[in-house]
């Protein structure tokens, strides 16, 4: 009976999956936190700060994630005390995600109809109160779908950590294929792992979106 490569290597792939999951969790958490921080900074810091963040974000979004990962990795000084590869991957992918998160929030806040803030000030709300009670709740609802989308993109993007030698699913898969020549089974299994995670995130996102949307 021929050996089934995907089963033979299952323990290895599960170990690699753990790294992918860890990397994804860190990137998504840091990316969201940094994106929100940048949005707040641009909002509270005045025109110059907003313009600077917007310009840097535009450039970062304009380059491929892989180039950004390489840039950060090669720019970091080599170290023996900690894992530079993992650090470079987390930093680069978080910043890259934050650039998109920033743009999503900025766009959503700008997309709130002017009439809403006018109405708020007409009934005596201060601009700050109007922002908190009128603009933010409307804007946040609009961000759910694109943020979920970006989260899925970031999880898929962690596969690029393999290019700088982080041993996660994609790199493990490549190693196994080069040893055993069973690309369909091994890559199928890996794709299935990614699919389950991304699909779950997308479904959870859709559920949240239904819950918070205005139309029922």
């Amino acid at each position: 009976m021929p050996e089934i490569a995907a089963l033979k290597y299952l323990p290895v792939l599960v170990a690699a999956l753990a790294t992918t999951a860890k990397l994804s969790a860190m990137v998504v958490a840091c990316g969201l936190a940094l994106g929100v921080t940048l949005t707040a900074a641009a909002h509270l810091g005045g025109k110059a700060v907003a313009l600077a963040i917007g310009a840097v974000g535009y450039v970062v979004r304009g380059m491929p994630l892989l180039v950004f990962v390489f840039g950060v990795y090669f720019a970091l000084p080599p170290s023996f005390t900690f894992d530079t590869k993992m650090l470079a991957a987390v930093v680069a992918m978080s910043v890259y995600m934050a650039a998109f998160v920033f743009e999503i929030f900025r766009g959503a806040i700008a997309g709130v109809p002017r009439g809403l803030t006018d109405a708020a000030s007409a009934i005596g709300m201060t601009p700050r109160l109007a922002f908190r009670r009128m603009v933010l709740p409307v804007a946040l609802r609009m961000t759910v779908a694109p943020i979920v989308n970006r989260t899925v993109m970031s999880i898929k993007g962690t596969s690029l950590a393999s290019a700088i030698g982080v041993w996660e699913l994609s790199l493990a898969g490549r190693e196994i294929i080069q040893r055993d020549l069973q690309p369909f089974q091994v890559l199928g299994m890996i794709a299935l792992f990614y699919f389950v995670i991304c699909w779950a995130v997308a479904l959870a996102g859709a559920a949240v979106e239904r819950r918070v949307s205005f139309e029922h």
Binding site: F184, C198, W199
Partner: protein
């Protein structure tokens, strides 16, 4: 740490050669992904048919798995089934099947947006379903969807950097080789990043022009 601008100028021809390949691969990828997306979109619109299920599975599967894995699948998988293509062709196919899934969703929404009354009018004039689709619906969808197609081309150009992992010397690989060989990391990656930004912005502008040219006269 020094930043040697002259180093960039001296090695720009190498990077531009990589950029050329990036553009070529992106355009061919789009050329393949658009018809693929259209065919899948048509299947997505036919509810209750077997091809509908296949189309939905295709879209969900390829949207929710990394493009890198799909490129590997073509690159490592095709030789196993007797298709020994050159890496460039496998790379283009890998990119196209990924972006085809996204375009299918875009086209589905676009066709659904124009379809109803236009289709009825075309049928009333005696066109068959297929002819009405080809002559009436699709030309409108393509016009309507041009911004989305432009957007996909930009994403394709960025994802073409993944082909560096299968030893294709496009812009990213050219930069990586140069950086590893010379150690001028900052210079090289700043230049590579700048070239990508120029490329993606340029593509956006070019397609906006095309959109303007193809607009329906009012």
């Amino acid at each position: 740490m020094t930043f040697d601008v002259n180093y960039i100028w001296r090695n720009l021809p190498l990077l531009l050669e990589g950029l050329q390949l990036t553009v070529l691969v992106s355009l061919f990828g789009l050329l393949l992904a658009v018809p693929l997306g259209l065919v899948v979109a048509l299947a997505l619109l036919r509810r209750g048919r077997p091809e509908n299920l296949a189309a939905r599975a295709y879209v969900q599967w390829f949207r929710n798995t990394p493009p890198l894995i799909q490129i590997y699948l073509v690159y490592f998988g095709f030789p196993m089934i007797g298709l020994s293509w050159n890496p460039l062709a496998t790379g283009v196919v890998g990119l196209a099947i990924y972006h085809g899934a996204f375009l299918a969703e875009v086209f589905r929404a676009g066709i659904a947006a124009v379809s109803d009354r236009q289709m009825m009018a075309a049928r009333a004039l005696g066109m068959t379903d297929g002819k009405a689709m080809r002559r009436i619906i699709i030309p409108q969808v393509v016009r309507l969807m041009l911004p989305a197609i432009a957007n996909e081309l930009v994403l394709l150009a960025k994802n073409s950097s993944l082909l560096s992992t299968i030893a294709i010397v496009e812009l990213t690989m050219a930069g990586k080789l140069l950086a590893e060989q010379s150690g001028a990391v900052y210079e090289v990656f700043a230049a590579v990043a700048a070239l990508y930004v120029i490329l993606t912005v340029g593509m956006g502008l070019a397609l906006r022009r095309a959109e303007w040219k193809l607009r329906l006269e009012h």
